[in-house]
Symmetry: C2
Subunit: 420 residues, 2 copies
Amino acid sequence: MSGRPDGAGLAELSPTPRLLMGPGPVDVYPQVLRAMASPLLGQFDPEFTRYMNETMALYRQIYRTGNHWTFLVNGTARSGIEACLGSLVAPGETVLVPRFGRFGHLLTEIATRVGGDVAAIDTDWGTVFSVEDICAEIRSRRPAVLAMVHGDTSTCMVQPLEGLAATCRETGTMIFVDATASLCGAPFETDQWGLDAVAAGLQKCLSGPPGTSPVTLSDRAADVIRTRRHIEFGIRPEGYIEGEGPRITSNYLDLSMILDYWSPLRLNHHTESTSMLYAARECARVILAEGLEAGFSRHALASRALRAGLTAMGLELFGDEAGRMVNVTGVHIPGQCGNGDAVRAELLEDFGIEIGTSFGHLAGRIWRIGTMGHVCRKANILRFLASFDAVLRRHDVPAEPNAAVDAAAAVYAAEQDRTG
Amino acid sequence: MSGRPDGAGLAELSPTPRLLMGPGPVDVYPQVLRAMASPLLGQFDPEFTRYMNETMALYRQIYRTGNHWTFLVNGTARSGIEACLGSLVAPGETVLVPRFGRFGHLLTEIATRVGGDVAAIDTDWGTVFSVEDICAEIRSRRPAVLAMVHGDTSTCMVQPLEGLAATCRETGTMIFVDATASLCGAPFETDQWGLDAVAAGLQKCLSGPPGTSPVTLSDRAADVIRTRRHIEFGIRPEGYIEGEGPRITSNYLDLSMILDYWSPLRLNHHTESTSMLYAARECARVILAEGLEAGFSRHALASRALRAGLTAMGLELFGDEAGRMVNVTGVHIPGQCGNGDAVRAELLEDFGIEIGTSFGHLAGRIWRIGTMGHVCRKANILRFLASFDAVLRRHDVPAEPNAAVDAAAAVYAAEQDRTG
C-alpha cells in the first residue's frame, strides 16, 4: 500500500498484486476491471436498460438456456441462492437437499429459514451421489423443490445433474442448482438438464468480482414466483395484480419484484448495482468471445497440469477421482505441515500466491488450489508449482527438484503437440 | 457505445458520459472509479481484512459515531435496511413508521414482511413530522422499533431526528434510520441523536456506485441481534453459542453472522464484495479528506444556487420550505410540459443530463433535481440551468434569457466574497 496520506489519515487504496489460486475470488479479467472504472449511467437511462437487456442475452448463452428470465440479483452468490429458494419455496413445502459438502448445508439452512421443510440426504465428503440414488429419494419424498449444489468447493467435488429432470417432472418437483463454483469452468446445461432455477456468482470461473449473482429461471419457475407477487405501496403500477400465493418473506430478495424490474415495466425495486452490472456484462462478453468450449478446455488443461505437478511432488489428491471438479483441487496436507496454515501464509507473504484450506472436518486437513478463469494459464501454474515446491521444501516435504514444474510443463507441451 | 465487436456479438462496454442530476445514482468520484479497477485480494488476506477494518473506522467518522459495529452489507441500500429491520424486529413486535414519502412505505413493507406489527402514521407528502408528534406516538404505542427515513428523495424532504432518543429510552424503543439520501449531504449525528441502527447506500451524496450498504449499530442494537445468533452447520466455530431469540428469517441478511464476519472470527458468511468494498473505502476517504463540514457547505451552496436559478426561471419549488433537503430539489412541472417526460428525455439525449420524476401521486407532477456528492460544483449547476432553460424554452416555458444562470452564478459569487 502506498500513496498520499490525506485528511482521513489513510492513503489511497493500492492493493498488492496477488495470484489468487484459492477457491475464489480469483484474478479478474483486465477488461472487467477496466469496465468497472467506467462512469455511471442512471438506472432508467435507455443506454443502461439496453446494457441490462444485453446482460440477460449474454447470460442465456453462459447458462446455455432459452430462459427469458436470466438476470442479476444484487448481492454475492449467496443472495442469488436465497432469492431463488425464498421465492420458490412456500412455507411448509418439502425441499430435498442432497449434501456432499458445506454448501449443501448452506442450502439446508436457507431453505429452512424461508419456511421449507427440508429432507436432507448425505454422502461422505469427497464423494458424490449417483443420479439414481437421488431419483429414488425424489420418488419417495416427492419434494416441491430439489435443491442441489453442482460443484462444491469445500470438497472440490462436482455432482452430475443430467438425468434428474425426468423424475422431477413425474413428481412435480422444481430443480434449483447452485452453480457458483462450476459455471464457465466445466459444461453446464441448464435446458438440457431440465433445471428450473440456477444461481451463481462472478468470483469463480467467470473471473469477476464477487457482488452480483447471475440467475436464470424456467418459465415454470417464474410462473410459481408470479403467484407470490406483491408490490409495496408507493411504487405499485397501474393495473397491478396481487398474487394469490403466500407473500415472499424478503423484500430485497423478492424475485417477483426483481422480474418486474428486469421487464419493460422497470419497476424501481432497487437501484441496480451499476458497476457490478458492468462487470457481469464484461465477464460474460470476454468468456463468450473466447468460446465456452475453449474456456472449458483451458480449465481442464490447467487442472491436469496442476495435478500432474502435485502428484510428481508426492502429494495426495483429495476425493474420488471420478467426481473431482476441474477447477479446484483438494490436496491432503502432509503431516510435516501441521494444519497447513504456515505454508499458506508463506506462499502469500513471500510469493504473493493465495491458496485455501477448507471447512468443517476438512479444515486444516486439505489445501484447496483453484484454477479458475483468467488464472488458468501455463505461467501461473508453473509459478505456483515452483513456489509451492520451495515452501514445502522449507517444511521438510522435499520433492525431486523441478519434478513438479517439469510434469506440469509436459502436460502443456503434450497439449501443444496434440492441437498443433 | 463503441469498441471492437467480438464472438459474443457485442462491443466492449463504453457508457456515454452523463451528468447525473437525478435522485441517484450520481457521478462517482474519479478516485473511486479508479479504485474499482484495482485487482482483487482474497477475502482473508491480511491486507484485505485491514481494508475491512479501515472501512469500519472511516464509516464511524462518516456516521459520527463511536459504534464499534460499523460495516458493510453487500447489496444496495435496500439490503442494508432489510438487514437491520430483519435482524432487530422479532416476529410480532410493534414497529412505528412515520411516513412522509415513498420510502416510509418501503420501511412499512420490509418491517411487515420480517414479521413486525407495523403502526404507521402519515403526513402529507411535502411536509414532515414534528418531533413532538412522533414522541407522542411513541409514548402511546411503545413500539419495539421506531423506523424512520431521514431524507426521503420521493418528496425531497428531510425529517428532523434530534430529540427522539430520550422518549425512545423511556419506552425501550430502538431507533432505526434510513440515511441513504442524506448521509454526507447534510449533518447526520448517529450518536448525538441516539440512533441504534442506521443504513445507507453509496449512490447519493457519497458519490459512489450502488451495490454496498454502510450500516452502523449501537451496542444495544448489536446485543439484541446477538440473541438471535445462529450459524449453519459446516462453518460453526468452536465454542459456538446459539442465541435464544427467534432465528432471523434471512440467512444472507443475518446481521448476527455478518458481525461475526466483520470480527476477528472472520466467519465465512459470504465473500465480501471486494471491488465494492474498495469503492466504499475510497468514497469515505475522499469525503473525509475534504472534511464533512466542507462537504455539507458545498452541497448547501449548490442547492442554493440551483434553487435561485430555478426560481429566476419562474418555476415553483415543491414542499414546505423548512423541511426541504439540501441535496435534492423538487420542482413542479409546468402545465406546458405535460408529465415532464419529454423534457427529461431531451435533457438526456441532447444535453447528456439526467434528472428524475417521482413516485405515486407525484409521478409526472414534479421533477427531482439532485445536487449530490461530486456533482456539486458550479460548472455543473450552470451547465444544468443553461440546458434546462433551453429545453423548457422549446416547450413554451420561456424565462428571461440568462436569468437562471445569472442568479446561480450570483449565489456562487456571493459565497466567494463571503469566504474570501
